[in-house]
Amino acid sequence: MPRPTPNFVTFEIDGRDVTAPEGSMLVDGAKYGDVEIPVFCYEPKLGQPVGACRMCLVEIEGIPKLQTACSTPVRDGMVVITGSQRVKQAQNAIVEFLLVNHPLDCPVCDKGGECPLQDIAYGWGAGRSRFIEPKRHFEKPLELSPLIAIDRERCILCFRCVRFSQEISEDYQLTFLERADSTYVGTHHGHPYVAPFSGNIVDLCPVGALTSSAYRFRARPWDIENAGSICTICPSQCNVTFSVRDDMKVLRVFARDNAEVDDGWLCDRGRYGFQAIHSPERITRPKVKEGGTLREVSWDSALAAAAEGLRKAGAGTAALAGGETSNEEGFLLQRLMREGLGSPHVDSRASGPIEREHARALARPELAAMVSDIDHAGAVVVVDSELQDESPILDLRVRKAIRRLGVKVIVVGGRPGALDPPADAIVRTIPGGAEAALGGLAAALGEVEPADGAPADRRAPRDSSQTPVGGLDERQHGEPARQGESVEGGIDDLSRRAGTSAESVRNAAAILRAAGPVVVLWGERLSHGARGGAGVNALLALARALGIPETEGAGLIEVPAGTNARGLREVGCLPGLGPGLADAPSAGRAATEMASALGDELSALILLGADPLRTHPDRAAWTRALDAAGFVVAFSDFPTEALTEHADVILPLESYAEREGTITHPDGRLQRLRQAIGHPGDVRPVWSVLAELSARLGVPGAEGFLTSPMVSRALFDAVPFYAGLTLEEIGGKGKRWQERSAAAAAPAAPELPAPGDLDAPPEPLEPENGDLRLGTARSLWSGRETEHSPILRFLAPGQRVELSAEDGVRLGVASGDEVTVARNGSSVRGVAALRDGLPPASVYLYEGTAEGNATELLNGEATTVRVHKAAAE
């Protein structure tokens, strides 16, 4: 579905001619002529208007009755009157009716000062009421959920929150109960409204009926200053506004609408996770280990200790950059490593290396889709990722595309997810089977010559100017005849290896073939572990089979594990690649290899916001590695096990509200982080600490970095495809580097592989003795924001062992039972959850939980585990 180009129509409003896009509603069209029509229930983000509040009544010539401007589209030659006596009378009446039951407790109400009802009553109301009867009364205030308080007396029944729950987040929890003036908003059984996106209804509410518990009574609009920045908690990188009081305290976070990134929604983790910034447990002073205990010291002595330890280790230093590291920090870190210490061992990926050619291929502008391409795609393929947990805002985006824009969705992966119900096709694999499934899908797309010529064009060989660089696969390929042959028996075989049916793969391919441009949202998990390279190959083969490079509006969007994964790759935080994805002088070790080399060839470790015991696979190896490491410098915001036991120098890390710099969205959009609050305690900007450390270690020019924009400038100069970018150009809405002329400098990548070129995926692991194949997932709620924000703590997940009902019966395990999952001597405990859609012989565990972390059981290979009911204690 191509992006619509708006036609403009001219109509008359209040005596002036106004030109507005055809099909827009009168409320929006009037804005083109600077006419404001008051509304309560109308919100274009919520989809179709409902006309529930009647506030927007206007007079239209030729129609005897007043019409709702929110549900009347503009037409050519329409004559609209918004200021006549009739309209005024209607508006006065509506305000008066709304205030019949709305309490006038504005001084107490949290919405006071930023309340649409206040504004509209003041601007369009009569200023007095004739009602002397008592108002309706409800019990108040009530908790709608631990995050949201509801005051039913104030509700004007505008429908917004219910529409959000029913049509946007599709959790179907909120509804109107009872009738007439007893109507109220609630959940069906009175359960708390807990959902990943529940907080958005607070922003939507046009009165003070729904208020955020975290912000309740904290401040008035004139007490706060709003500071725009980016939420760096997850890879969605939503644009947010921090409400800051007294320059030091973030009181709330709300969405800063950017249609290209977040569409104006936020998840609850982003909305309420800010409380962790002000946690009393936060590290705010540098510490140095002296005689086995950590002691608070001055910055000068901490940096001296860090510099001395790192100088001693020299080229034997390794560095891990955490996902929330900004581009500037990553850039300085890799310079510190490569130029200051002569060590190539710097990595920003947790689970295994990515091949250079793959990193370059994935960065190619023609393979990149932008977020808004999801809206206009023919089909969306979600690969090995539970969007709701890993990039929640993309989940809402896909739901919008399905519901409102008729986009087809295909889910490929092993674990049943939130997008299964609306999906058009599901390719359910075994854990780790996505590689084979994608290969099968690519083969199936080439299997049948389509009747119409368009998809055949898609498979045309790419532009010959794309010179293969080698390394990936230098075989010639692309003859359709051979493809057809080689895959004839291949699809069945690949489907078997993926643990799925060939029928589901063919069905998905048929949908894709019939659809327009395809956007593939792929989870970084596909590229993890020993088969990671093959997984990326299969993805690239699918991209080729779908004709993504030649199709406008088609592309890949990664759903990475770390927020700024793309930016960190592009600024050179990969073991083999320097800034701009150019070959680094010498190849270093990836994170997984560092773990085995520490204490051996490597003696020191820098952790920049990374916690290998929490997020990196093979926890046992990392525990051993941290033990063996002679010297550990950690930038961290909270004391974790990795720090308190193993760190020699701890440097406090900024929170995202304090940070300045840029980060890169998975679709290539550079966005600006802007400092919203002052640094608490002795916290210093990380870029300045890294610059000073670099200067102490003799990195040329490191003393010259006096401000964060100076680092940004150096970074833009160092990455060829960012060349000439300025912070002004990035501005408040970000800038995709693919859209700039400098994108031509993106490194060339070899030709995309054809399905026939792929290595055969491994035979599916056959579990023995009733073992189960292990797969992992992430929970939206695992992470330090949940654990350190008092309001979110109730959501912090424990380990959950997801089993198929069949295996549950076989193992004698019911939902809620405590079970033990064991492999090779290491084991974790968790609570069993039997899930219907889960294929048998698979078990899914959460990564990154505080207790019973699945990383204990991972080692980069496909594994089986034994699950049994835990012995009662």
């Binding site: 001084p107 000062g113 309740r216 009574f217 904290r218 008035r220 004139w222």
Partner: protein, 192 residues
């Protein structure tokens, strides 16, 4: 009056002087003193002035012995602020709505609200002022806070004795504003 500037410039001699140079100022001198006028100046004017003085010596003194004695103020005098409680329940009238802070042109009021709980009921509504501070060294005593208050919780009192030794002591907290002030300033009586 005869000696207005226009009359002066109409004098032919001075007009000629003005003609000589623009910056020459003509000075009109008093007639040279005579004997009788000198005597009058020495004694007559002095006695005239003394008459007032002597007449006032018989009156009661009007000096107020501040600080032992205070000037009474008018009822609408805008002195130091007071916060009020309900007389019956003892709850604070202030609900912490921050409207006074919004109205304040000197930005000297800081309100941080919090939620009442059944165990800890401070004000009559759901909300109360957990922090209520007025920085009296910044206050311009305009009384807008009193006008803005929807609950008559803050009023301007009579107290004008507000000097202190440090600036920070002039930040009045909620407890100080709620406390019955020591009645230091008398109110002017009717007709006074």
């Amino acid at each position: 009056m005869s000696d207005t500037p226009s009359n002066k410039s109409s004098n032919p001699a001075e007009a000629s002087a003005t003609r000589l140079a623009d910056d020459v100022i003509a000075v009109q001198r008093a007639p040279s003193p005579t004997r009788s006028s000198s005597a009058y100046r020495a004694f007559g004017a002095t006695l005239k002035g003394l008459r007032t003085t002597l007449a006032r010596t018989l009156e009661k003194p009007t000096t107020i012995q501040y600080p032992e004695e205070k000037t009474p103020v008018y009822p609408r005098f805008r002195g130091r602020h007071k916060l009020h409680r309900f007389e019956d329940s003892g709850l604070e009238k202030c609900v912490g709505c921050s409207l006074c802070a919004a109205a304040c042109p000197a930005e000297c009021i800081r309100v941080v609200a919090a939620e009442n709980t059944p165990e800890h009921q401070v004000s009559a509504g759901e909300r109360y002022a957990a922090v209520y501070e007025i920085n009296l060294s910044r206050c311009i005593f305009c009384g807008y806070c009193e006008v803005a208050c929807p609950f008559d919780a803050i009023t301007m009192g009579n107290d004008y004795e507000l000097s202190d030794y440090t600036r920070s002591d002039l930040i009045f907290t909620k407890e100080m504003l709620l406390a019955d002030p020591i009645e230091r300033t008398p109110l002017r009586r009717e007709g006074e």
